[in-house]
Amino acid sequence: MLVSVVLENIRKIFPPNVVALDNISLEIGSSEFFVTLGPSGSGKTTLLRIIAGLERPTKGRVIIGDKVVVDAEKRIFVEPGERNIGMVFQNWALYPHMSVYDNIAFPLRIKKLPKQEIDRRVKEVAEALGIRELLNRKPSQISGGQQQRVAVARALVKQPDVLLLDEPFSNLDARIRVTAREFVREIQKTLGITTILVTHDQADAFAVGDRIMVLRDGEIQQVGTARQLYDEPVNLFVANFIGNPPMNIIKLIPAHPVIKALNLEDIVPKDDSLVYLGIRPDEAIATVEIDNAHIVGKTRIIEYVGARKYVKVEVEHGFSIKVLAGENVTENQKVGVLVRKVHVFNSKGARIESIVY
């Protein structure tokens, strides 16, 4: 079944007064791969657990499909087992004393499906996920990547309406992570199952998500596609959190010469004491030609990242920024920085405008 997930005014307070989630409202479309992204303590896992039914919201309600699964005010609560969801936990939570086959069969056995049906479904899912040969082994006898697939198999075998994933890639090494991401995305697209994934890694979010929600301290910062978050961040937090290497954030007074150099005098609010400029390392380049540059400075350290080189430039006005290193740029050299795009934020951190040169 293709279902949507709707959250209305979800609020979660842990006693005595820790506000884990503050007024989260959101609508996840059916078959959408939705990612909740945020640092530790942002409330993202709590939100997922509330959707799963492992945690109860203090206020608000969750609707899966057309069924209200929890309503704090009306005291409605549907057990996790009745919500027709599948969940993959951060540490996979495979039952260690059972074989892979039994692990995957477990939810079906609880539902008391006939033996042949269980056998058929388990083998089908195992085949689809490429773990058919592992069915007789115990979780301790297979690798991390394989364990993850077993966890996904267990979640999918009961053909749930919604798939929930709690930081599924954090325990994998870098190489396997890339294949795992692709694998999860493919499965999701093939099955068309509404999926909600929680992560602190923005690369994961970008790799798999149709839409991404950035959470901070229990509050929604921004919800949008990867491109929207990258090109149009709504505030400093999102701007800094998304993108690697992180965006350079420069704190300046409105009358600062750099503002003039970048032709931003009209955009910068006059009545503000401060303004922030955001320049992504990939959107500015240091060159040996100083004449056409917006900013002049001296290079310090060059960082070689394979396909590109970054260099930290100490600008003559007293701050440093990391930008792309152009041809022939070396360390301890006087360079000019050509800015391709800059984001302007007011003193409260909200983005005013983004200028492309």
């Binding site: 799963a52 492992l54 087992g81 939570a93 039952y95 004393h97």
Partner: protein, 278 residues
């Protein structure tokens, strides 16, 4: 500097001395049980003549008035239920204490812990009269009930602490899979907690097997006496046959040790380590 090897030497010497001292009493008893009296009359460590024999073991087992074989069987009859019953009941209680919250939980737990400090000798009189009123004095059932009741508090405490160490994720996964708490307990928690449960079982077994006091107070028919009660009866009125007593003691002592050795591999902690990949 020679600190490394010298330290190693000193540690080993001390360890060996302690080890040997520790094992001495058992060696002594064993020697006494297999050597004829005249050989050990000056001490079992005297080895001028050495003609070991197991005759004392048979004598103890098939003693005309107080045969140990019957005592051993009675001990088993008492111990096995007295281990299984409290283990199951306490495991259920421990799970409740570990995972759920209910109004008087903490008070209940503390009261239980507090009451455990009361010694057997203080409780025996009310227990005696209680069993008498229930017509369970001098019966297997009576003694089993007393041992089970005695075991429940400490096993609950022990297992509750063990359960709190188990990651909740396994149970949460089972909840999402649709399992009821009863299914979660028996299919997931109990098997995964097996090392802790087996540890508790072995301890309870040893405790009940070695019990003398409750048996002494509550069983007086010689046909129903347990092994620990039979042993002192092997003392003669005029002459103590040390060989006989030692043989009996060795047989009674060995049982818990063998239980421990047999179940040793269930202590292996490897189990829970694999539920959560670190």
């Amino acid at each position: 500097m020679m600190r490394g090897p010298i330290k190693w030497l000193i540690v080993n010497v001390i360890a060996w001395i302690v080890g040997v001292l520790w094992i001495m009493p058992f060696v002594g008893i064993f020697m006494t049980s297999i050597r004829p009296f005249k050989e050990i009359v000056h001490g079992w460590w005297v080895f001028e003549e050495f003609h070991p024999t197991f005759s004392k073991y048979f004598e103890a087992l098939f003693h005309p008035s107080y045969p140990l074989w019957r005592g051993l069987i009675n001990s088993f009859i008492i111990v096995i239920p007295s281990t299984i019953i409290p283990l199951i009941l306490a495991a259920l209680a421990a799970y409740a204490f570990a995972r759920f919250s209910f109004p008087i939980k903490n008070y209940l737990f503390l009261t239980m812990l507090f009451m455990m400090t009361v010694p057997q000798q203080m409780m025996i009189i009310p227990i005696f009269f209680m069993l008498h009123n229930m017509k369970l004095l001098n019966t297997y059932l009576g003694l089993i009930l007393v041992h089970s009741s005695w075991g429940i508090p400490w096993i609950t405490f022990f297992l509750r602490n063990y359960f709190t160490m188990l990651p909740t994720e396994l149970e949460e996964a089972a909840l999402v899979d649709g399992a009821s708490y009863r299914q979660i307990f028996w299919r997931i928690v109990f098997p995964v907690a097996l090392p802790g449960i087996v540890s508790a079982a072995v301890l309870q077994f040893a405790w009940v097997w070695n019990d003398f006091f409750f048996a002494l107070m509550l069983i007086y028919d010689p046909k129903r006496m347990v092994a620990t009660q039979i042993l002192p009866l092997l003392k003669g009125q005029y002459h103590i046959d040390w060989g006989l007593l030692s043989a009996g003691s060795v047989m009674v002592m060995t049982v818990p040790v063998m239980v421990y050795a047999l179940l040793h591999r269930y202590y292996v902690k490897g189990f829970t380590a694999w539920a959560i990949k670190k």
